[in-house]
């Protein structure tokens, strides 16, 4: 069974219903178990709203959302849905409930009525999984942003979810904090098979996903493998997004007439592709052209 599935999902915030403005329009998506899905889109395109549909914090105005086969609109299944899909939000300060790290990590299992001994093992395990085992007795406000965010992730892991949704969870972090959080998330996916839905602004974060969904004005605009989507430079530009710098460089070179593939995303790949193209050019070109190159 799919981890998440939406069918013609529409949504309008109740307080704005009068305007009849749909924030989500007829979205049909399935997210496979164990995959990493990135969602990209500029501000106000409905990413956070979509994320909140995935664990029944918001319910569809039209259409359906299923989480592991449970209909989110079914009130009796609400806890089942929420324990399966953990959420990590942007501001780590506003999602930490307790003033001792381990108490905070224990919050979800406590709510679920997990027996005390098991809470202990879950908390220790979750803190170890995010590499924060030494901070169990710390006060959260003494930690760095990246550390706080990892605590928030630990709090979600302790719930033993099958899917974790990160809503711009790295947006407020410094580069080191971002790397730590991303590494943690990827490890969870690799080692425990947790499905990851990652909402992000950073192209390089989207790169390492199995699948990339681009949202625009409440609709799914593009959907496919990151490599494939990044090659659609013009379509991305049309909605004000830009491809990774490497792809943009390759695209410019292509427009100048150099035959490079657009599929090279990482800097190394990009350099390799350009070198290969230049060498091929050299081989094909008549002798006279060589001096022209040398003049550069």
């Amino acid at each position: 069974m799919e981890m998440l599935k939406t069918e013609r999902l529409s949504f309008a915030y109740p307080e704005r219903e009068g305007e009849g403005q749909l924030v989500l329009k007829e979205i049909g998506l399935t997210v496979e178990r164990g995959s990493i899905v990135a969602i990209l889109g500029h501000n106000g395109s409905g990413k956070s709203t979509l994320a909140k549909q995935f664990n029944a914090v918001l319910l569809p105005s039209g259409g359906k959302v299923w989480v592991d086969g449970f209909d989110t609109a079914d009130e009796a299944a609400q806890l089942e849905v929420r324990r399966r899909v953990g959420m990590v939000f942007q501001n780590p300060d506003n999602q930490i409930v307790a003033n001792v790290v381990e108490e905070d990590v224990a919050f979800a299992p406590e709510n679920l009525g997990v027996p005390t001994e098991e809470i202990r093992t879950r908390v220790d395990d979750a803190l170890a999984a995010v590499g924060m085992a030494n901070f169990a007795r710390y006060a959260p406000h003494l930690l760095s942003g990246g550390q706080k965010q990892r605590i928030a992730i630990a709090g979600v892991i302790a719930m033993e979810p099958e899917c974790i949704v990160l809503d711009e969870a790295t947006a407020m972090l410094d580069p080191q904090g971002r790397r730590d959080v991303l590494e943690t998330v990827r490890r969870l996916n690799r080692e425990r098979g947790v499905t990851i839905v990652m909402i992000t602004h950073h192209m390089d974060e989207a790169e390492c996903a199995d699948r990339l969904i681009v949202m625009n004005q409440g609709e799914v605009y593009l959907d496919g493998a990151p490599r494939e989507i990044f090659q659609r430079v013009d379509e991305l530009r049309a909605i004000g997004l830009s491809a990774p710098e490497t792809v943009k460089l390759l695209d410019s070179l292509r427009k100048e007439g150099l035959d490079v593939p657009l599929s090279a995303i990482s800097v190394e790949e990009c350099a390799g592709a350009i070198c290969a193209a230049l060498k091929a050019e050299e081989k094909n070109a008549p002798k006279g052209n060589e001096t022209e190159w040398n003049q550069f």
């Binding site: 909140k52 664990n55 914090v57 806890l79 929420r82 324990r83 953990g86 959420m87 939000f89 501001n91 300060d93 506003n94 999602q95 930490i96 409930v97 307790a98 003033n99 001792v100 381990e102 108490e103 224990a106 919050f107 979800a108 299992p109 406590e110 709510n111 679920l112 009525g113 997990v114 027996p115 005390t116 809470i119 202990r120 908390v123 007795r137 006060a139 959260p140 406000h141 709090g155 979600v156 719930m159």
Partner: protein, 267 residues
């Protein structure tokens, strides 16, 4: 400047005072306060002060930290002392205008100051040696029976622990906003009280707005982590009474009885 606030601050440690069940400490504080209000003369106050000193010694909390905690309350202390001095009827020592200083008044003021100081220090000693989480746990547990009377005990305890959790965050934020306003020429340190209060408005408004946003986000985050009230909740740390709890509670009770008897005899 805001960092000086020590109310509810916890100094971790591993002494008997730290290891006691928070419920025991809470009950001890209540008994201590009752005893303080029954004390009358030097002997009973001396007993209470001695007991507090013993507790401070056991807890290894610096005496200085306790006194520092009293700083914000000095104004109240002085005010009470002055009121007592002039408004207790008795033998007059000096008088001017409508005020009459009496011997009884001076004694009343001295005892009142001692009483309030002991009360504050006793309470602070508890908050210094008990983590806020343990304290809210204890309150929830002790007030548990009131749930039958539909008092929202769990909700109150949760509110309290969240408030405690956000105090440092909001203080940090207030500091940041104040620095930002200072950089634009705001002045929080000079002028009379009214001027200073006015200067605080541009700090409080953004602080409140941000607090509401935080509350909204926190509520969502709690929902996402399956929070659905106190029903069916379990705990990472379950409170269990030990032998030492009984011992300390009995000691406290004896001291209280001693103070009550001494007090009723007028000592």
């Amino acid at each position: 400047m805001l960092k000086d606030i020590t109310l509810g601050q916890y100094f971790p440690g591993n002494t008997l005072a730290h290891r006691l069940d928070p419920r025991t400490k809470l009950m001890m504080v209540v008994l201590y306060i009752v005893a303080l209000f029954c004390a009358k003369g030097f002997l009973s106050y001396g007993l209470m002060a001695l007991f507090l000193l013993l507790c401070v010694r056991i807890s290894k909390v610096g005496f200085r930290a306790l006194v520092r905690g009293m700083k914000p309350l000095i104004l109240i202390l002085i005010f009470t002392a002055v009121l007592n001095m002039f408004y207790t009827p008795g033998r007059a020592i000096a008088s001017f205008w409508v005020f009459t200083l009496t011997v009884e008044g001076v004694w009343a003021a001295v005892f009142m100051v001692i009483r309030i100081a002991l009360l504050i220090m006793g309470t602070f000693l508890m908050t210094y040696t008990t983590s806020p989480i343990a304290l809210t746990d204890a309150i929830e547990n002790l007030l548990g029976p009131l749930k039958r009377l539909r008092v929202p005990v769990h909700e109150l305890a949760m509110m309290m622990s969240i408030a405690l959790r956000f105090i440092p965050t909001l203080i940090e934020e207030a500091d940041k906003i104040m620095s930002a306003q200072k950089a634009r020429g705001a002045d929080f340190e000079t002028g009379n009280l009214l001027r200073r209060a006015k200067a605080m408005a541009p700090v409080l408004v953004p602080l409140f707005i941000s607090a509401f946003r935080r509350a909204d986000e926190l509520a969502t985050a709690m929902e996402c982590r399956c929070y659905h009230g106190g029903e069916g909740r379990t705990k990472l740390h379950v409170l269990r009474y030990q032998k030492r709890d009984l011992f300390c509670l009995v000691t406290m009770a004896l001291v209280m009885i001693g103070a009550v008897i001494l007090g009723s005899l007028g000592y």
